[in-house]
Each structure stands twice: as structure tokens, then as C-alpha cells.
Chain length 337, copies 2
DNA sequence: GGTAAAACTGGAAGCGCTTCCAGTGATGTT
DNA sequence: AACATCACTGGAAGCGCTTCCAGTTTTACC
């Protein structure tokens, strides 16, 4: 048995006929437009209720040139990246914000070439009213496509190469500085950092925060190893740092995963945390509570990121002029520092 | 400065005019319909290329009554549930499958009442061509709505109250049996289980698998405590089991989070794992590798779940008659048992 | 009571596409 | 040579809604 044939939804014409008014009148009451007499409105409302009428989205979209859908695009070569809890949090934030509107969320994991061209097509064919972009790599062609499509667009996090007109970002620089200053305040001086990929803005900003804090405190940045935000990357970096600077006494890791990897290596090397080596991470997306010892880390509010991106996009679509936002980060003290 | 005005996309009429043919002819070549002469096709194709024409999605949707969008709905009261890595994996699977089609994914976190009514509206207004439903609680009104809307629908996991016509599910029963049999094979006899919520089908199926394995082996199910799939829930259940059955020698936990909580309590209570107590979890979504000791667990392929749901829905939309699927689970041996 | 302005109304023209249909010319069959 | 058949074509009628506009009624005000 196939899906049961739905009984056809009534159309506006039918509603109008039943209410004994013209289609335009009916349309006006549905859209709460002015110039509708009380009698007309009530007749139409009654007919709507009786017939269970709901306006057809597509038809309305065609007439108004508004789809009522916004896209969230995660453009990254590795589809598994999406498994990072970061995105789930973004989506929770986005959804919460959309719930206060009439917009729906279209999710686009544009990893492959095909995925990207599908997204491009979606934009060019006016399949959505606006787009939120995340995790672009530096010279993502999507950037140009979005521009050329002239579609309202907001960025989550800044791409490396250019400053988008509208973006929401966490205060990575400030957070990194905060973390490093805290380590300095603890009396540590041989503070090293494991960065994220230097090919990303996040990676660079968090590194820069570390350097600035060190220099402002009159210390020299003790050592740097590049990680990739992953646990294994963190472990590898930790090993090489331990080799080259065995006397290090604190670490600022650019992500909690990185920190977790570092932590493991440190323990294995017989260092006690935080007594011998203090460790601070970045993100605070759950993982930080589950390391051993629990991780002191810089908290960023990812749901807020999603929420603010959405609000910004909604504003943009409504024709307003929002301004970009940087969300504060804060230090969360646990046991690793 | 507002988003730059996009230069208007050319329409089919304009393409037809440029190619010197009628609109219907142009439409035919775009849709690769028959009855198009070579000359016509080439003229139209040239015009399309020259003008950079792309058919307007909405207009096409109105004419064909197909939106080219499918929904994935997560209907659950707690929006945070979505943060569970499970859903990210589902989405990766869904996206991969959709990439081979011309469909896009609309994601609907229908937690609040408002969220649900927005979803309802989306369905009734024919905003999507089909829907995948997940995480419904027993008597979710969505079920009826979907039915009434007569929309192609597939379920991810079975709801408690009824067997949907089309669903994809992991073999929870079989997995639980596998886990328990393994513990039995280890020579354990005082095997307890911490279940998921008994108000869910997953919870019940995994419990039933445990009981069946025990009974088939001639053992009596030693003790059961109800958990809620979370780490804290697992810890609480573990405590009470340890109280009432201090001599237990193995645990089948209905999820890895549950197992992690149990593990913590066991270690704190001075039991060694797996020597004193063997522990097996369920899910294998990353967490299992990070517990101490790493968790022996039942692996379910969540990406496959997403992928198969999608394929099933696509089939359904195409008018075919797919059949429901149960995906095998398998035991992954690590150190906890 | 007369006028100007305002409120209301329905007809009609879109939005950009698909698809049915009747008509044309080309091809094939006896 | 007459006929049926087929591929092709463009006109026209949708899909279900919004919105402009011109006309009609009401209201407000002197």
C-alpha cells in the first residue's frame, strides 16, 4: 500500500468562494492587510476554519519571491567534521532563534565537489532567502558565489582571507589571552602553546592571544607547536614540545581535544597536572569535563553563536542593517590549571 | 550598504526568445523530454549557456508540485538531546545519501509546542516532499499529522506504540543479546543490566535482548535498574545495583554514556574493570574509546541508519515500495570486558 | 446636503515554470 | 498515390498565491 492519497488541500479560490468574497479579499485577510471590512474578515476566517485551509507555501513563495527557508552551510572537505559537537550546538542555537520566526532551516553539508555545486545551484535558483556559512577554508569559492548571488549572508567565524560584512565570531583572541594571563598569574613562566591549524583564522587568533599575553607580561613566548584541533594532533605536538622544551611548566592548548591529547602524553611522561604542568584548553563543549583531570578551559557559547547568526540573517532579510558581533569568551576553572 | 542587488536571473521566456523557439520547446530541452529536434536543443542549450540561465526552483515546484526538499524531524521535548553525537552521525549519513539526488535537507528540531506546530504547518502546506522522523516519544501527535498529510514518511527507530510502515532501525535486540552472550561466555553469571528509559522502544529492545540471552543460557536475569541513557543516570543506577547486589560480576549497559557513568562508580567503589566486573556498553559513538578502560561495546552504524532512511524516503517519493530495514549491530571488543 | 477623503472591493495581471493539446510537416506502409 | 503514423512545434491553460488598480461605497467634515 502506498502512502494514502491525501485529500486535496483547499485553495484560496475555494475559500473565497465559500466566504462569498473575491480571492483578493481573502488573500488580504490571510495576510492581515489593511482595507478589509469586519464582515469580510469574519466570513473568510470562518471559511478558513471550516475548510481547514492552509496557504500553499510554494505558491506564496512564487508570488512573493520569498521561500521562507534559510540555509546553514558547512563547507568543508571532510564530512566527518560535522560530527564535532560544535555544529550540533550551533544548530541548537539556530533552531531556537528560528523558532521565533516563520523561517525553516535547510542544512547543507557541502563537502564534495558535487555537494558544493548543489549548494551553488540552490543559491542561484533562489531556493533560500539567505545563508549562514561556516567552516569555510580560506579561498572557498562559495564566498564568491554567495556574493554574486546577492543573497543575504552571514558568516559564523571569520574566513582567513577577508572580513565578511556580516559575521558572528567568538572572541578567540581575548579568550586565548585570558587563558595565558591566567597561567602567568599562576606564576608559570615557561608557557608553551599548541595551536590550531595556522591556515584558519581561529587557529591564528588563539595563537596571537597567547603571544600578546606573554609579551605584555614581559615574557617571551616559550615555544609553539602547530596542532589541528584534534586529540591525536595535540598528543603529537605535546610529544615534540616535551622533547624540545622538557622544562615547560604550562600549556595553552587551542582546543579541548588538543588539550586532552596533550594531557594523555603528559601523564604518560610522568608529569603531574597541574602540579608540574598546568594545562588550559579552549571550547568547553563537554569534553573538558570528562578529561582527567577535568580541564580548565576557555568557554565559548556556541549556541549563542548560532542564535546570533540567525538573528543577524533574519534582520538582513528584513532589510535592516545589523552589525557584526563578537561573542565574549570566559575562563572556566577546573583542575588542570 | 545592503546586500548588493543581484542582477535578475533570466527567465525561461527570455531563453526561449533568444533561442528563437517557444517556451514549451525550451522547457522540453531543459527537462530532457522527448520530441525535441536536434536543432532546437542546440539553440536552447546555447542560449542557456550564454545567459547563464538556471530554472527557478519555486516556479518549478509550483508547477510540478514537488519541492525538492525532504525534512528530517527530531521531535523531542529537550532541544539539548540533539547535541547527542548520534544525530550528527545520522545527518552525515543522510547528507551523503542526498548528495546522489537533487533533494535538499530541511532540519526541524521540533521541541517546543511552537516548534511542533511549525512542523505541522510545513507538512500541511506541502513545504517538503517527504519526511524522516526520529526520536518521537510514544504518542507523538506528529505521527497522526504525518499520516493525515499523506506525505511519504520513514521512521528512524521504531516508536513505542505502533509499527510504522516504513522504518530503519538498528538491531537493538540482537545487539543486546550479543553483548550479554559475550559476558556469559566469559563465565560471568551474576550479570546485571542498566536499561534505557522503558518508555522507549530502544530501551525495551535492549533490555529484552539481555533477558533473552540470560534465559536462553539457563541463567536468571540477575538484576535490572532503569537508566536514561545518560552518564549521570548510569552512575545512579550503578550505585543502587551495587547496593542491592554487591556481588554482581558483569554489567550490560544500554548505552555507552550509561556505561561510562557505571564505570566511574565502579572504580570509585574499588572494583577493578574488567577483573572484578566486566562492562559492556552500546552505541560506539566515540565516547567508548575514551573511557578508562576503553569500553567493549555494541557498535551500531548510525551513518548507515541515516543513509538507509534517506534512500527509503527517496524510493517512496519516486513511487516505489521499499521495505523496512533492520541494520545489524556488532560487538567491538576493547578492555572493559 | 454636498464634497473630499478614506475605506473597501473584485478584476486582472502577474510570479516562472510544466504540460496538455491541436496542428504541422516528415516518414513509412500498402 | 493515398493513407496512417510519428516526431516535432507553439499556443494556452494551468500550478496557487500576491498585488496593483480602477471603481464603488462609507465616512468625515463643512
Amino acid at each position: 500500500m502506498a502512502a494514502q492519497r491525501p485529500r486535496r488541500q483547499p485553495t484560496l479560490d475555494e475559500v473565497a468562494e465559500r466566504a462569498g468574497v473575491s480571492r483578493s479579499a481573502a488573500s488580504r485577510v490571510i495576510n492581515k492587510a489593511p482595507h478589509v471590512s469586519r464582515a469580510t474578515r469574519e466570513a473568510v476566517e470562518r471559511a478558513i476554519k471550516e475548510m481547514g485551509y492552509l496557504p500553499n507555501r510554494t505558491a506564496r513563495a512564487l508570488a512573493t519571491r520569498q521561500t521562507g527557508i534559510v540555509a546553514l552551510a558547512v563547507s568543508h572537505d571532510d564530512p566527518e567534521l560535522f560530527a564535532d559537537p560544535f555544529f550540533a550546538q550551533v544548530i541548537v542555537g539556530v533552531s531556537a532563534a528560528l523558532e521565533e520566526t516563520d523561517l525553516h532551516l535547510l542544512l547543507c553539508l557541502a563537502s564534495s565537489g558535487r555537494g558544493r555545486s548543489r549548494l551553488t545551484n540552490l543559491l542561484h535558483t533562489r531556493g533560500v532567502d539567505g545563508i549562514m556559512l561556516m567552516a569555510l577554508h580560506g579561498d572557498d569559492p562559495l564566498t564568491h558565489i554567495v556574493r554574486r548571488a546577492g543573497l543575504p549572508a552571514v558568516y559564523g567565524g571569520r574566513p582567513l582571507n577577508f572580513e565578511p560584512q556580516w559575521y558572528v565570531d567568538s572572541d578567540n583572541l581575548g579568550g586565548a589571552r585570558l587563558a595565558t594571563e591566567y597561567l602567568i598569574g599562576l606564576g608559570r613562566t615557561r608557557i608553551v602553546t599548541i595551536t590550531g591549524p595556522m591556515s584558519t583564522d581561529v587557529g591564528r587568533a588563539r595563537h596571537r592571544g597567547y603571544r600578546e599575553a606573554m609579551i605584555m607580561a614581559g615574557l617571551t613566548p616559550y615555544a609553539t607547536a602547530e596542532g589541528d584541533f584534534t586529540e591525536t594532533g595535540g598528543a603529537a605536538a605535546m610529544k615534540s614540545l616535551l622533547d624540545s622544551h622538557p622544562d615547560l611548566d604550562a600549556i595553552f592548548a587551542a582546543s579541548d581535544d588538543t588539550a586532552a591529547g596533550a594531557l594523555r602524553v603528559l601523564i604518560d611522561a610522568g608529569r603531574s597536572v597541574p602540579a608540574d604542568v598546568a594545562v588550559v584548553g579552549f571550547d568547553d563543549l563537554g569534553m573538558a569535563e570528562r578529561t582527567d583531570p577535568p580541564l580548565t578551559t576557555v568557554h565559548q557559547s556556541v549556541q549563542a553563536l548560532g542564535r546570533e547568526m540567525t538573528r543577524m540573517l533574519v534582520d538582513l532579510i528584513a532589510g535592516h542593517e545589523p552589525s557584526s558581533i563578537i561573542l565574549p569568551t570566559k575562563l572556566v576553572l577546573r583542575d588542570s590549571a
